[in-house]
Amino acid sequence: MNAPLSINAAPPRPVLVETAASRPPAAAAQPAPAPATAKQTVVPLPAPQRYRPSRAVAIAYDVAAAVVPPLVVLALMLLVWQLATSGPDATLPSPLKIWADSSDLITQPFFVNGPQDIGLGWRVLTSLERVAYGFGLAAIAGIVLGAFVGQSVWAMRGLDPIFQVLRTVPPLAWLPISLAAFRDSGPSAVFVIFITAVWPVIINTAVGIRNIPQDYRNVAEVLRLNPIEYFWRIMIPSAAPYIFTGLRIGIGLSWLAIVAAEMLTGGVGIGFFIWDAWNSSRLSDIVVALIYIGVVGFVLDRLVALVGRIATRGTASA
């Protein structure tokens, strides 16, 4: 805050003046008594009357500003969709038809009526379990490999071109090899997720490690940190923003890969559900499943971003 500004103060002795601007808003309504030292020299001015919304109103306004626009767009989209698919020869179901066909899937995510007749919530959880294994392995392997590639020039020269080629292979192209190797659909799906998610983690970690400032390296050298201490105390915290960027891309790719992999390997995942619904012409169910997948993917992305924000506190701002 600036030094108090006195307009009418006469110079003979220093006068500490509290101006309207420096007064807390609560006291602004009634004119505050002027400080004793400034009795004759300062005329207290009325504080400018400005509308200040209360805290609750301000929060409500912020929430509305974030929520209302997407809701309006969503309503418009549903309207257009309804109009476009309500003709007699429409090939896709309209929103109202989807509600009529599949409201049980939407309103009850966790029902169990039989081995293959279960709520979409259960299916999503099954898929998430596979993603957890595959992505967890990818995160660990990716960070370790990325650290290796990032801090060794020769490892980078040797491995980077190979990584760059392998990372462009689409997830599904790994599936036959993986099925041949594991001879079981469960591990194969996990492997496909792993191999899809691991590349961005490796590459981002390597870039993060390569960008560790020379200053931190010098500090580590003067302190004589051993490689393990260096890894935990310098490398990981310093590269954390890059690592979390890689993890965030990786979790997105995992979720892309799981659906594709499950379409082919079967089981009870959300991917297989879509394939099954297509084979029995339940188009409405597919649309509901798509929405589930989208929402879960969004939540996963935000979750990793949130963990990243907490973990890199302090690092990013310095």
């Binding site: 200053d215 003067v222 310098i234 310095a318």
Partner: protein, 277 residues
């Protein structure tokens, strides 16, 4: 730690403590070679405060890095207590120009990491905690021990950098333009702190600087470097001012004025900075 008070004489006598013997440093990049330092020889006594001054690009920082062990000599040798220096170590602590605090650690943890590393085997947990706080107290930073580097000012960061270096109980304290990035008032304040600490602990200090007043105020000797490439030690000036020194009293001191003039003449008459074409 209870070292005796540093001697008041400006010429601490005794055997050479730190010795640079005919040190040359050549950097190779691709096919080209650049000779940065040529034939540097220098003896530094224990508890001496030596400044190295010269125009930018004269290899001052390279010289400090050689003593720190962060870079290796091409020919010649750096000897500390008759042992050759060829890798970094906590007995030659460095205060870096841009503080180099780790931003993800608090002020306390930035010092503690050094204390844990150096005294992990010899001191108990409680002793290391006390020693960390003691060093933060030396630089008057105990009040901000739980803040992160991004939350404190540049001068405070540099204080923490000094505390971290002191906490290693180094034989030699190396300071690479420690106050270069600070404003004049903060710099003066930190110079006072460094003088007090030097008087109290009697460290051997090598400080790189480009500030003539700072060099004269703090040093027992000033090493003046010729312009690079192939920089050499041009002159070594003794500063026989009694300690403790007071910057206000020194302004009119004949010895201070003479030393200041000698450094200025060296830098701006005989070895004027030539702008690289």
């Amino acid at each position: 730690m209870s070292k005796p008070i540093a001697p008041q004489t400006s010429h601490p006598s005794g055997k050479p403590f730190l010795r640079l013997e005919a040190v040359c440093k050549t950097f190779r990049r691709g096919g080209s070679e650049t000779e940065v330092l040529r034939d540097i020889s220098l003896d530094i006594a224990e508890r001496e405060f030596v400044s190295i001054i010269g125009h930018s690009g004269c290899g001052k920082s390279t010289m400090l890095n050689l003593v720190a062990g962060l870079t290796q000599v091409t020919t010649g040798a750096v000897l500390l207590e008759n042992r050759e220096v060829n890798e970094p170590g906590p007995e030659r602590a460095v205060v870096f120009q841009n503080h180099s605090l780790l931003p993800w650690l608090t002020v306390y943890d930035n010092v503690r990491i050094a204390v844990d590393k150096v005294f992990g085997r010899t001191k108990s947990r409680a002793e290391r905690d006390a020693w960390t706080l003691h060093n933060l107290d030396l630089v008057q930073m105990t009040h901000a021990k739980d803040k992160r580097p991004s939350e404190i000012s540049g001068g405070m960061k540099q204080r923490v950098g000094i505390a971290r270096a002191l906490a290693m109980e180094p034989k030699v304290l190396l300071m690479d333009e420690p106050f270069g990035a600070l404003d004049a008032l903060t710099r003066a304040h930190l110079q006072e702190t460094v003088m007090q600490i030097h008087a109290r602990l009697g460290n051997t200090v090598i400080m790189i600087t480009h500030d003539v007043d700072e060099a004269v105020l703090l040093s027992d000797r000033i090493v003046m470097m010729t312009n690079g490439p192939s920089a050499r030690v041009g002159e070594v000036l003794d500063v026989p001012l009694t300690r403790p020194r007071n910057r206000l009293e020194l302004v009119a001191d004949a010895e201070y004025i003479r030393a200041r003039e000698a450094v200025l003449k060296f830098l701006y008459e005989r070895h004027r900075y030539v702008e690289a074409a």
